[in-house]
């Protein structure tokens, strides 16, 4: 069974329908890149997978569990916020604007989840957090506050913070869009190595090069619907739909 299964996902903000029935499956260990023009609903869909937004229709399952619901006695019960929090433990998310906690050091940011949410032993968590910071190449920045780090460094800490929860799935919401061009590479490198290690990832991105080299599958969204999906070679190099061809002609 797929790790993520989305069926007929619909979402409106006011009178604007942002998602018009999205179907998507992501297998374990698979890396899926969501591409498309701005306003296509890529980020909104990603936020629905983590229940940061509620969906109006359809259903999303992560590892067989319906997102935002508890199934019991043949009924689905909507979750309270603290129950939803419990569900989110298994899904890591990286934001466009990093959203590190500015009042805590890099190390404290990474430790916050395991210590405060999982109530694990501080010393043990600290050792793991140091290892994670090493993995993203920031061991020497453990004591720095976010404001003392570059955008690329902040985003790598944010990735480490998400990984500290040992998630089954990682969501990346335009992780390099707020970065200076010369800092994009260091973040993509970390994401690439994460993909190589077998992490299941859904990545909203405009980095076509990253999608081409790392993604197992590329999904192209326009106006809240999937227009085209397939391997990077198929979708990026040999797009069938006119809308995909137009978009790629502009960004490539």
């Amino acid at each position: 069974m797929a790790l993520v299964e989305a069926v007929g996902v619909r979402k409106s903000f006011g009178h604007t329908e942002v998602l018009r029935g999205i179907d998507l499956e992501v297998d374990r260990g698979e890396v899926v890149c969501l591409l498309g023009p701005s306003g296509a609903g890529k980020s909104t869909f990603l936020r629905c997978v983590n229940h940061l937004e509620t969906i109006d229709a359809g259903r999303i399952w992560v590892d067989g569990v319906p997102v935002g619901f508890r199934s019991h006695g043949g009924k689905l019960y909507e979750l309270r916020e603290r129950e939803a929090a419990h569900q989110r433990r298994d899904v890591g998310m990286v934001f466009q604007r990093f959203n590190l906690f500015p009042h805590r050091t890099a190390l404290e940011n990474v430790m916050e989840g395991p210590v405060q949410v999982l109530r694990r032993d501080r010393a043990e968590v600290r050792a793991e957090a140091v290892t994670l910071l090493e993995r993203v190449g920031l061991a020497e920045k453990a004591g720095s506050y976010p404001a003392q780090l570059s955008g690329g460094q902040q985003q790598r800490v944010a990735i480490a913070r998400a990984l500290a929860m040992k998630p089954k799935l990682m969501l990346f919401d335009e992780p390099t869009s707020a970065l200076d061009p010369e800092l994009v590479g260091e973040v993509l490198d970390v994401m690439t190595s994460l993909a190589r290690d077998g992490m299941t990832m859904i990545v909203v991105t405009h980095e076509i090069g990253f999608a081409r080299s790392v993604a197992d599958r590329v999904v192209f969204l326009v106006d809240g619907a999937v227009v085209e999906s397939g391997t990077p070679a198929d979708v990026l190099d040999n797009p069938q739909q006119p809308r995909t061809q137009q978009f790629l002609a502009k960004v490539l």
Binding site: L52, A85, F101, E112, A158, A164
Partner: protein, 271 residues
């Protein structure tokens, strides 16, 4: 022209005669005021005695206890009202708006008088089946002053806390959610610590106001600093001397509060 440097012209710095004149005028005014105070018919040598008079010290202690208790209660209540104001529950939201409207809208002195005279309209305070107590036993001058000052202040604190909570970027809450934090943990670990930067300065300001506001409790004969000063001067008629001693205590308290605020701001300051 570039030739300035080569021709080695003398540079004349800008003079500021206006600064010298206005500075001199200010100093003159200060010297004049000092002279007037020294010439006035004040028994300066009696002031230190009133400053440390046992009644004055009792008034000082009562002032501190009242100010700290009222402000402390107001902070706790203010956080609750602010959370209600931001709640998804419309009844809670409207209650919070009404609460702020009422307790911020009435003069503190009026509120103190109403609480103090509550026994005139309610003989007993009771929760049916739980307890009943006579109002005039509960509603001492201290309790009336505490309620009057504290409830008024809690309405202001609610607005200050709301501004603080709203100042924290929504991305912070989302990041906290994304690592599985519950709403309570998010508030305690992520939002409040950052809101503190916005909350502390006006709270310090309000606490200074609170210290001085306790003087209104003198109208219901609560023995705070002003009432203590009046008690002392009613015996020796040195009204100004006792008031100056009380004034000195207010300045000491306010100075200490300002210093405390400075350190609090530094502790929660930007990194």
């Amino acid at each position: 022209m570039a030739s300035d440097l080569r021709e080695n012209l003398e540079v004349v710095p800008l003079r500021h005669p206006g600064r010298w004149i206005s500075g001199a005028v200010i100093l003159l005014i200060i010297v004049g005021l000092g002279w007037a105070m020294a010439e006035a018919e004040i028994q300066w040598e009696d002031v230190p005695g009133f400053f440390t008079h046992p009644v004055m010290l009792e008034g000082l202690l009562n002032t501190i206890v009242l100010a700290v208790a009222a402000q402390g209660g107001a902070i706790v209540l203010g956080v609750v009202i602010a959370l209600m104001r931001l709640s998804a529950n419309p009844v809670a939201r409207w209650f919070a708006v009404g609460y702020i409207w009422l307790f911020r809208g009435l003069p503190v002195l009026l509120q103190i008088l109403i609480w103090f005279n509550l026994a005139l309209v309610f003989k007993n305070i009771s929760i049916p089946m739980l307890f009943t107590v006579p109002t005039n036993v509960v509603m001492t001058a201290f309790v009336a002053a505490l309620l009057g000052l504290g409830l008024n202040e809690s309405a202001y604190m609610a607005e200050i806390v709301r501004a603080g909570l709203s100042s924290v970027d929504s991305g912070q809450t989302e990041a906290a959610k994304s690592i599985g934090m519950t709403p309570m943990t998010t508030l305690r670990r992520v939002v409040l610590p950052q809101a503190m930067r916005v909350i502390i300065p006006p709270t310090g300001n309000n606490f200074i106001n609170m210290i001085k506001g306790t003087s209104m409790a003198s109208v219901i004969a609560f023995l705070e600093l002003i009432h203590a000063a009046n008690n002392i001067s009613s015996r020796n008629l040195e009204i100004m001397e006792t008031l100056f001693a009380a004034a000195a205590w207010y300045l000491v308290m306010v100075s200490l509060a300002s210093i405390g605020q400075h350190y609090l701001e530094r502790a929660y300051g930007p990194r």
